[in-house]
């Protein structure tokens, strides 16, 4: 597994990575609190503990690149520049929500930010991301599609189709497997024929096997930059398996009891935000700078919560809009 940093990013990038991770962590923690207060209805899947991956990519992507992510997509959407208010508002089903409550926690999308959707059915977005990459290739736009998915997703058919397709058409797409070691409540090793569910399958598509430390933002950032550049230059797709862990349960109030205590403790200790903070301190950044960033983030989260909480429910008429491009829902004349 790739754990060292090839390139040491400059301080500006490092601060940006830290700031993105802080924002993700703050957002996820708040989403959990709101869920426990029954202000987030339905379900919510948090990426607490997995922030380094979304952030590492977020910092490396071009503004017009495309992100495709899963229901566990708050981090990935946020790092593209989407406001916290609209994300929390969507989770809470408020009018200020990113889709005004029509999508919900599992479907965050902001086309204007290149956040091309969060998909709630396993596998589908991998083939859709390939399609966006095809379009970028056809339009010669230099854009790259980045597709995040979980370890459990490597066992569904669409994974296989997407990878083969991307390789034969040499598409500018980066597939990022966030191996958090569990599907919902089942350990990935119990249901997977190989040890590293993505990396050990790269060769089945003629791809290099890339297994990296997904909790080290610098490692992620370096690999993201390389894969993006390769795709942009016409070098085709990359498959990256980034090993990580989710601090909480799969969704909602799942206490995650199927995971051994020591395992959880070990990974909570190897927390991407914590280790990155220590690295920044070591590199000479003053504690006060970091604290300032932390309190700025907290304030941002509070402000977003406040605005979202005060937003009304969406007006009923929007439920009868936008099935079609004409803005309507009519299926008859």
């Amino acid at each position: 597994m790739e754990t060292n940093t090839h390139t040491s990013p400059d301080q500006e990038t490092r601060l940006r990575l830290f700031s993105l991770m802080l924002a993700c962590r703050g957002l996820q923690t708040r989403a959990f609190d709101l869920f426990m207060q029954n202000l987030v209805k339905g379900t919510t899947h948090l990426g607490t503990g997995q922030e380094a991956i979304a952030s590492g990519f977020g910092a490396a992507m071009r503004e017009d690149d495309y992100t495709f992510c899963t229901y566990r997509g708050h981090n990935h959407t946020l790092v593209r520049g989407v406001s916290m208010t609209s994300i929390l508002g969507e989770l809470m089903g408020r009018d200020c929500g990113l889709m005004r409550g029509k999508g919900g926690s599992m479907h965050l999308t902001s086309v204007e930010h290149g956040a091309m959707g969060s998909y709630a059915i396993i596998g589908a977005h991998m083939v859709i991301a390939a399609g966006a990459a095809w379009s970028a290739q056809y339009r010669e736009s230099g854009q790259v599609a980045v597709c995040f998915f979980g370890d459990g997703t490597t066992n569904i058919g669409a994974f296989h189709e997407a990878l083969n397709f991307a390789v034969i058409w040499k598409l500018p797409v980066v597939f990022v497997c966030e191996n958090n070691q569990y599907m919902e409540y089942t350990a990935i090793g119990d249901v997977t024929a190989v040890k590293n569910p993505a990396a050990d399958r790269a060769s089945a598509y003629g791809l290099e096997s890339i297994l990296i430390d997904g909790n080290d933002a610098d490692v992620v950032h370096a690999h993201a930059s390389a894969a993006l550049e390769k795709a942009r230059q016409g070098g085709g797709p990359t498959l990256i398996e980034a090993v990580t862990y989710r601090h909480g349960g799969h969704s909602r109030a799942d206490p995650g009891k199927y995971r051994p205590d020591e395992e959880v403790a070990k990974w909570k200790d190897y927390d991407p935000v914590k280790i990155y903070r220590a690295r920044l301190l070591e590199s000479g950044i003053a504690e006060s700078v970091l604290e300032e960033m932390e309190s700025a983030t907290a304030a941002r989260v509070d402000a977003a919560t406040e605005t979202a909480s005060n937003s009304p429910p969406p007006p009923l008429e929007i439920a009868h809009q936008d099935v079609w491009a004409d803005g309507g829902v009519a299926w008859r004349n």
Binding site: K41, G42, T43, G93, R94, G97, R100, G101, K102, G103, G104, S105, M106, H107, Y119, A120, I121, I122, G123, A124, G152, T153, N155, I156, G157, A158, M183, E184, Y185, T186, D190, V191, T192, Y258, P313, P314, L316, I318, A319, H320, V323, V329, W331
Partner: protein, 325 residues
């Protein structure tokens, strides 16, 4: 009688049948160690062990392929597709393979299997986790289709589905999992294909399924109390086999039919029932056939919007009142 929740009745039925028939095996995602993401299959792993109760990868085609291959060769598998929306990733195995193989092989292949799935809206899960897709199944020849409305029927119909020699799609309505009801203790089996007449009235026949059944019953109360309209309420329970005789008998008497479906408007089972009645019972009708459905849209996620889209007691009441008045 014991008071069980709808979700507990699922496990009760599975346990009842697994005790009696060693060829019954059960597989699905997170169904064994975790007892199912809806906690519908708790305790089964403990009682029946990991050879009969199996966790699978996220491979719905393989789950149903495994069930089909096992059913063709002597087992009686029960497979879980976690949310019925996910039938779309394995529809080939359902619609093209399981449904057609007995017929295509001129009766050579037996396919005694059950596919259970959590169906429907009301949980604020958004459009990809809230569909009612029992019509997808009804439209395909070769599938039996069951959708119970209460814990007793969950137990009895699931038991019957497992014993049935044909493939059965068993739709458990998500929004009913928490509801409770009396369930007969000991062996309980409810034959497939028999609608349940819940109350009899003179003015109109209301036919409903699954989560729409309690709403239809409440609507019937309101209609009686506030409008003096007396309604027959029929819980269809199965779409295939379809108990047209029970429905027809009632419609012949009342002259009026209202169907209540959770699924979106087009090509629902209500349309099929409506067309059957207007083809075969036309001269008994005293007025239009009214269908109450979710509008033909994907379901929105926000609670306020979702609630407004699903059929409600009020919508049933006003639909009936408009018809009868």
């Amino acid at each position: 009688m014991a008071k069980l929740s709808y979700r507990e009745a699922v496990a009760a039925a599975l346990a009842q049948e697994m005790r009696r028939d060693p060829s019954v095996v059960f597989l699905g995602e997170d169904v064994a160690a975790a007892g199912g993401v809806f906690k519908t299959t708790e305790g089964l792993l403990d009682e029946f062990g990991p050879v009969r109760v199996r966790d699978t990868p996220i491979s719905e085609q393989a789950i149903l392929g495994a069930a089909m291959g096992a059913a063709m060769t002597g087992l009686r598998p029960v497979a879980e597709i976690m949310f019925s929306d996910f039938f779309a990733v394995c529809w080939d195995i359902v619609a093209n393979q399981i449904a057609k193989t007995r017929y295509m092989t001129n009766g050579q292949c037996a396919l005694p299997l059950v596919i259970r799935s959590a169906n429907g809206g009301g949980s604020r899960f958004g459009a990809q986790h809230s569909q009612s897709v029992e019509n997808w199944a009804m439209a395909v020849p070769g599938l039996k289709v069951v959708a119970p409305s209460n814990p007793a029927d969950v137990k009895g119909l699931l038991a019957a589905a497992i014993r049935d020699p044909d493939p059965v799609l068993f739709f458990e309505q998500k929004s009913l999992y928490g509801t409770k009801g009396e369930v007969p203790e000991g062996e309980h089996v409810v034959p497939l294909g028999q609608a349940n007449v819940l109350r009899e009235g003179d003015d109109v026949t209301i036919v409903a399924l699954a989560a729409m059944v309690p709403k239809a019953q409440k609507a019937a109360d309101v209609l009686q109390a506030e409008h003096g309209i007396s309604a027959t309420v029929i819980d269809l329970r199965c779409l295939v086999p379809l108990d047209t005789s029970t429905v027809f008998k009632s419609v012949s008497a009342t002259g009026r039919l209202v169907t209540v479906e959770e699924n979106p408007r087009l090509c629902g089972w209500g349309a099929e029932l409506s067309s059957l009645v207007s083809e075969e019972l036309f001269w008994d009708l005293e007025g239009p056939i009214v269908r109450i459905t979710t509008p033909h849209i994907p379901l929105p996620s926000a609670d306020f919007l979702e609630d407004a889209m699903l059929p409600s007691v009020e919508k049933i009441v006003s639909g009936v009142v408009e018809l009868v008045d």
